[in-house]
């Protein structure tokens, strides 16, 4: 039990001692990406090897063995594309191994853990340059990590390691040196804006909740990261769960709340498991519960799992879902700060926002304001995906440009393809193009160009992506996820989707574009909640930036990216065709004719564009136009 300040200090001192006593730490990435590529087995293998090695102990605590080796499961190390990732750390020296296989474990243990050799073939290599440590990899070196500072360095499940890394210092400082109002004041002065998409100043929310007359207040964390192509919050929940909880505890202390809820999306089982574990550990030592550290401050945490409704990322829908109802947004005001969960004043922020709070309290508002831009202080996490060389999780100061993110950190486009657009902000966001590459990414600048920073999903698209089809994809998503409460969103998204499907099917007319614009603006202005208000953005922004592509689909009936099936036409090159008859036999509609050993031809009026002929031609004689 950690019952008071002295006990916590003592635990910290011991934990730091143990951390320093490691001769070597084997840090196995345990983010969702690396688990998918098999890192759990790598972890078990290292455990097995270390346990059996003579003179080695892996226990956390005092020991009498020659060597103290730690085998740890960490949060996301960042370069998901190169997983499973393993770091070998000896003091300040860290080797970053990539694409580690079970067969490599023994060799790593002998050469790099017990010995001091580096295994070159497992290092990150690009363009003839070999990177030994994580900081040598441009992808990691160019980041500024606050929220993700522990990810990849410490055991995500261990309270001792979190405390040793400086965890709960902020809580201690707040509870013993700061009045709750002073905590709010620091958060307000830091200028931190909600990282969930809206960008509303967090401090303002806290001030409003604190001054409500009702004595019962709640703290709620939105971990319903629903934007497809975004996994930042999931990485924080599974990679550094204690940091999120500490941030929520600080909020609870500041606004005098006794209960906190984390709403996690159903597709993140690992986040749920890690958070549950962390809460149980904290309850056991008394850092959660009644009378924390003897201060009289009580705080209890609860986890709610989402059930597959994107709209629950909206504040009032999320609280309705926690209450056990359909997750449908309601008319505002009253706002969440006045009547949130169970109609009580509620602080509702997302995962990344809370995860920033401990550092703000510890280092102060001025320090935080020194990072990022005037209007958007601090850093932002982004998940970098799509057609890019280095996919993964990044954290950069607000105001970093797309060019720096895509080309310096991300290493440019995959296989040298040509950059076409980057989709930012998910289904509520828009597409930015070549001309926007030097726009600083902060809440206000991005908005000017018809997109939003949103929660931080960045999906890079190259010339093989059809922007009309992408617009249809997002509209299909929001139409499915519309809760149906208000007409503009329920009916409007359906109509917009029908028009987009018509265009993709090659049946579009020019007047459809005006209809899309008209409908889009109507839905944007008149929907009840953020989902509907932002649903038309992907269409409106592609219409603005890629109008030519829409026109090409409608007038020329052509899809330059060869994505839209209806506009493909298959042709047989008579030079290459050997007349083997395979395509004619496989064609399900009998559209291919020709005599044996003579070039065949396709009757385009019969062809259903299924692509079977192309897949089966061994001479490469069939191509798509």
């Amino acid at each position: 039990m950690i019952q008071n300040k002295e006990a916590l200090d003592q635990v910290r001192e011991e934990a730091v001692k143990v951390l320093d006593s490691y001769d070597c730490r084997i840090l196995v990435c345990s983010g969702t990406g690396c688990v998918a590529t098999g890192s759990q087995k790598i972890y078990e293998k290292f455990m097995e090897i270390a346990k059996d090695a003579p003179g080695v102990t892996i226990e956390f605590g005092p020991h009498d063995k020659d060597a103290h080796v730690g085998v740890k499961k960490t949060g996301c190390q960042g370069v998901c594309e190169l997983g499973p990732l393993v770091r070998i750390q000896k003091g300040d020296d860290v080797i970053q191994y990539t694409k580690v296989q079970i067969e490599d474990c023994q060799e790593i243990f002998e050469k790099s853990v017990q010995g001091n050799e580096t295994i070159e073939r497992l290092l990150y290599q690009k363009g003839g340059k070999v990177s030994r440590g994580p900081e040598d990899i441009p992808f990691i070196a160019k980041q500024t990590r606050i929220v993700l500072k522990n990810c990849g360095k410490f055991d995500a499940e261990s309270l001792n390691e979190y405390i040793a890394s400086g965890g709960f210092q902020a809580l201690e400082k707040a509870m013993f040196e700061m009045d709750p109002d002073l905590v709010i004041d620091q958060v307000d002065k830091s200028g931190i804006r909600g990282r969930g998409g809206g960008g509303f100043p967090a401090g303002k929310k806290w001030i409003q909740v604190a001054r409500q007359a009702d004595p019962v207040h709640y703290v709620v964390c939105n971990g319903d990261e629903g934007d497809p192509g975004a996994f930042m919050d999931g990485s924080v929940m599974e990679g550094d769960p204690y940091r999120l909880i500490e941030g929520m505890m600080l909020a609870a202390y500041a606004v005098r709340a006794q209960h906190g809820y984390i709403y996690v999306r159903a597709e993140y089982p690992q986040s749920v498991a890690r958070l549950k574990h962390a809460i149980a550990v904290l309850e056991e030592v008394g850092l959660l519960g009644d009378d924390i550290l003897g201060t009289g401050f009580s705080f209890h945490m609860h986890i709610n799992r989402g059930a597959g409704a994107f709209v629950c990322g909206e504040g009032s829908a999320l609280t309705a879902s926690i209450e056990g109802s359909r997750g449908m947004p309601r008319v505002k005001p009253p706002r969440t700060v006045e009547q949130g969960l169970w109609a009580k004043p509620t602080v509702l922020n997302n995962v990344e926002t809370y995860a920033n709070i401990p550092e703000i309290i510890l280092k102060g508002a001025d320090w935080y304001r020194s990072i990022g831009t005037e209007g958007s202080p601090g850093t932002k996490t982004f998940s970098l995906t799509g057609s890019i060389e280095n996919t993964g999780l990044i954290e950069v100061p607000m105001g970093t440009t797309l060019r720096e993110i895509i080309f310096d950190i991300g290493g440019g486009l995959k296989a040298g393809a040509a950059f076409k657009a980057v989709q930012i902000g998910g289904p509520s966001g828009g597409c930015l193009t070549e001309e926007h590459l030097d726009v600083p990414l902060d809440f206000d600048s991005v908005k000017k160009y018809g997109a939003i920073v949103g929660s931080g999903g960045l999906v890079v698209m190259d010339e093989h992506t059809c922007m009309v089809e992408v617009a249809r994809f997002f509209m299909g998503f929001t139409q499915r996820e519309s809760c149906g409460k208000c007409g503009p969103c329920r009916i409007g998204t359906k109509r917009m989707l029908e028009i987009l499907e018509k265009i993709v099917d090659g049946k579009g007319e020019m007047e459809d574009l005006d209809k899309l614009e008209h409908l889009g603006n109507f839905i944007k202005d008149r929907s009840l909640c953020g989902l509907g208000k932002s649903a038309p953005l992907p269409v409106l922004s592609t219409l603005k930036n890629f109008r030519d592509e829409y026109v090409e689909h409608i007038v020329d009936k052509k899809c330059a990216a060869h994505v839209c099936k209806a506009m493909r036409s298959y042709v047989i090159d008579p030079e290459k065709c050997k007349g083997c008859t395979k395509c004619a036999r496989n064609c399900p509609v009998g559209a291919i004719t020709g005599n044996k050993k003579e070039p065949h031809s396709i009757d385009t009026s019969k062809c259903i564009k299924c692509g079977t002929c192309l897949e089966n031609c061994v001479f490469g004689a069939i191509s798509v136009n």
Binding site: T37, T385, M461
Partner: protein
């Protein structure tokens, strides 16, 4: 008529979360976790026990995509069609699974109750797109060929 054991299990779950309306969603999630679907009769029973109307319980269950009144296969395959997976060609993977298992957007479960194929909007492993999830395991960098092999492997494991 459901077997008595269903009600016993439901009672255990209800006791864990408490007889209050706010327990509805977690109770339904756990029941579905055990049986891979939500038996309608059992939901009626749960509603009565925790003090919500039957209408409310069904309105909640039908609102959320995760709940299903139809039994699902032993292996629930969720093909990710999030943005990152979509632009890295997730649809051919889905189509291969449909073709191989004789399923479609409307027929989601095989007759032998082995496989259910669904789509999902993001699994959070976008760095390894396209991905899919079989029960709780995420499979990275899928291709139609890999999907095909995986099905054979899952079927094979069943016989062996």
């Amino acid at each position: 008529m459901l077997d008595q054991s269903f009600y016993q299990k439901a009672d255990e779950i209800i006791a864990f979360y408490g007889k209050k309306p706010a327990s509805l969603i977690p109770i339904m999630q756990d029941i579905q976790g055990v049986y891979r679907y939500l038996p309608g009769e059992l939901l009626t029973y749960v509603a009565e026990q925790i003090g919500v109307t039957e209408a409310k319980a069904f309105s909640v269950a039908t609102f959320y995509e995760n709940f299903s009144f139809d039994a699902k296969g032993k292996y629930v395959i969720k093909v990710c069609d999030g943005t990152a997976c979509h632009v890295r060609k997730s649809i051919p993977v889905l189509e291969e699974l449909y073709k191989k298992l004789g399923l479609s957007r409307t027929k989601k479960t095989t007759d032998d109750m082995m496989f259910t194929v669904e789509t999902v909007s993001c699994l959070g492993a976008c760095g390894l797109a396209p991905t899919m999830m079989v029960n709780e395991d995420v499979h990275p960098r899928m291709t139609p060929e890999k999907a095909d092999e995986l099905i054979d492997k899952l079927r094979g494991g069943e016989q062996g």
